[in-house]
């Protein structure tokens, strides 16, 4: 995309967290260094700037089918702490794909931080696929900090599928995801995280299964290398006849530390809740198999990690 508000670094960041070519095909709002710089609305998707706090309201008309909405954020200013509230109001039976990434480029010694609070209000029968990608780059020693909060409120018959990815360059992140589910709803979360150096990542899931036949699947796959530290906390409450499955799977290398605390609480005899957690190094037999196919140990390790985080 061409814009006088965006330079080369901005476009590079945008391409890391979004599909640049696709952005302009639907509604979008690009936020740079704490301010909205580009916006486009469509017949079915309206974006309105909030008056009380920094952020936007995104309104999707009922019965909207298969529209893309891009809400990328880029930060290139060292020392900036950006707090934004984005609320998504999804009308009845609408079906949309929302892409909301954040990229930070920090070449200096001051910290750059983005705290995005995303709230999703899905009306009856609405369906959303929400893709969130976090990325950091730059040569400065200032930290690149991202603390996203995602709240999901699902009305009867609605569903939300969330994919979050943080593979590179984020110094510190605390990710909080909360779901409140009514009758016949489904909330699927897939998280992929990779940390290295002295990076820190914490994930907290809190899902309340309040409606009959509500269900959730929470999957976290992570790789921790170097001296990095990760924490995975998942709390799922089955308050009705419902189903939940949470799975935390981590590969650990070098001196990294990973803590997984999956917690499930059944407050109803019909609640069916499962949790799994596994942490371990790359299995030696996997490395050997790929080496028998001609890959070096390093190449084999890369293939295993790439597949694991795909």
């Amino acid at each position: 995309m061409e814009s006088k508000n965006l330079n080369e670094i901005d476009e590079q960041l945008l391409s890391e967290v979004s599909n640049l070519e696709n952005i302009t095909k639907g509604a979008y709002n690009i936020r740079k260094n704490g301010k909205g710089v580009e916006r486009q609305v469509t017949e079915n998707v309206n974006i309105v700037t909030k008056k009380d706090v920094s952020g936007i309201d995104i309104y999707v008309k009922e019965n909207t089918k298969f529209e893309f909405i891009h809400i990328p954020v880029i930060i290139t200013e060292s020392g900036l702490k950006d707090l934004v509230y984005n609320d998504f109001h999804i009308g009845k039976n609408a079906n949309v794909i929302i892409i909301a990434g954040c990229g930070i480029h920090n070449d200096h010694h001051k910290d750059a931080e983005h705290d995005g609070i995303h709230r999703f209000y899905l009306e009856e029968g609405a369906k959303v696929r929400y893709i969130e990608k976090h990325y950091g780059e730059g040569n400065g020693d200032g930290k690149r900090i991202l603390n996203p909060v995602t709240e999901v409120y699902l009305k009867a018959g609605s569903s939300l599928e969330m994919e979050s990815t943080q593979i590179k360059g984020v110094s510190s992140t605390i990710r909080e995801t909360k779901g409140v589910l009514e009758k016949d709803t489904n909330f699927v979360v897939t998280e992929k995280i990779m940390t290295d150096g002295k990076q820190y990542a914490k994930t907290i899931f809190d899902v309340q299964l309040n409606g009959e036949n509500s269900s959730t699947h929470v999957t976290s796959r992570s790789v921790a290398t170097g001296d990095s530290k990760q924490e995975f906390i998942s709390k799922i409450y089955g308050n009705e006849k419902c189903f939940a499955h949470s799975e935390c799977d981590a590969i650990i290398k070098d001196n990294a530390i990973v803590t997984a605390v999956p917690e499930i609480t059944a407050n109803n005899v019909e609640a069916n809740l499962i949790h799994e957690a596994a942490i371990g190094k790359i299995a030696g037999e996997q490395l050997i198999k790929l080496m028998t196919l001609g890959l070096s140990e390093k190449q084999a390790e890369e293939e295993i990690i790439n597949g694991f985080l795909r």
């Binding site: 050997i288 080496m291 001609g294 597949g307």
Partner: protein
């Protein structure tokens, strides 16, 4: 000669797993290794691939001393290895694994052809992850497909019948035969299956870490195995 083992010894927990093995194998031969459990068969073939390293002795492959080479270096020289227990992965698909095996860009169609050769209805499998959702027999066939695709000078299979039913296994025997015909290379296969032993050019009989006897299938089957009834003679007709 494609492979030569000289005075190979391997000891663990004060037990001689391999006790001074000397062996010479010619190019293009189909060799079966058989013998009772614990006789050192698997350890021997793992030595050839580099998965285990000998305490002493020398391994010569295609004129090169490979004794101290890493697994991947041996793979590049032209050795392939089919595992007794196929390895499972998380996230790596059948197509990914076949691409790595082929060591070149292959299309999904080519990957499907490789799967069809081992009796898998390819379209159902090519995009699946190589994980526990596949049955033991399916994993075994995928394992064989990854090895077959490499078309190397030496192909080793560590007890390919393990974990697969006899009906399915009989259908795979053709795969082993065809593979050695196509590659014109050498196949070494650990097996207790009479049908495999029958088609072998040579059988190596191992016992207590030593090679007890080497001979044609006729010689060995008549002399050692049939008399002692230690070979599975179950026939299956489909």
């Amino acid at each position: 000669m494609i492979l030569e083992l000289e005075n190979i010894c391997f000891e663990r927990d004060n037990k001689k797993i391999l006790n001074n093995i000397n062996l010479q194998i010619d190019l293009g031969k189909f060799i079966a290794i058989t013998g009772p459990n614990g006789s050192g068969k698997s350890t021997l073939v793992k030595m050839i691939m580099g998965i285990e390293k000998p305490d002493s002795g020398k391994i010569i492959f295609d004129g090169k001393d490979i004794t101290n080479m890493e697994i991947n270096e041996r793979a590049k020289l032209g050795i392939s290895f089919g595992f007794q227990q196929p390895v499972k992965f998380k996230g790596i698909t059948v197509y990914d694994l076949l691409k790595i095996s082929a060591n070149k860009k292959i299309t999904k169609k080519e990957a499907c052809e490789a799967l069809a050769k081992v009796g898998l209805c390819a379209k159902e499998y090519v995009d699946r992850e190589v994980n526990g959702s596949l049955s033991g027999g399916e994993l075994k066939r995928i394992e064989i497909a990854t090895v077959a695709l490499r078309q190397t000078k030496l192909t080793i299979f560590d007890e390919p019948e393990a974990g697969i039913d006899l009906w399915s296994f009989n259908n795979l025997i053709d795969v082993f035969q065809t593979m050695s015909e196509i590659t014109k290379g050498t196949t070494i296969i650990i097996s207790h299956q009479e049908k495999i032993l029958e088609i072998a050019d040579e059988i190596i009989l191992m016992k207590s870490g030593k090679i007890k006897e080497i001979g044609t299938s006729e010689e060995i089957l008549n002399k050692e195995i049939k008399n002692k009834g230690c070979c599975q003679k179950r026939e299956c007709k489909i």
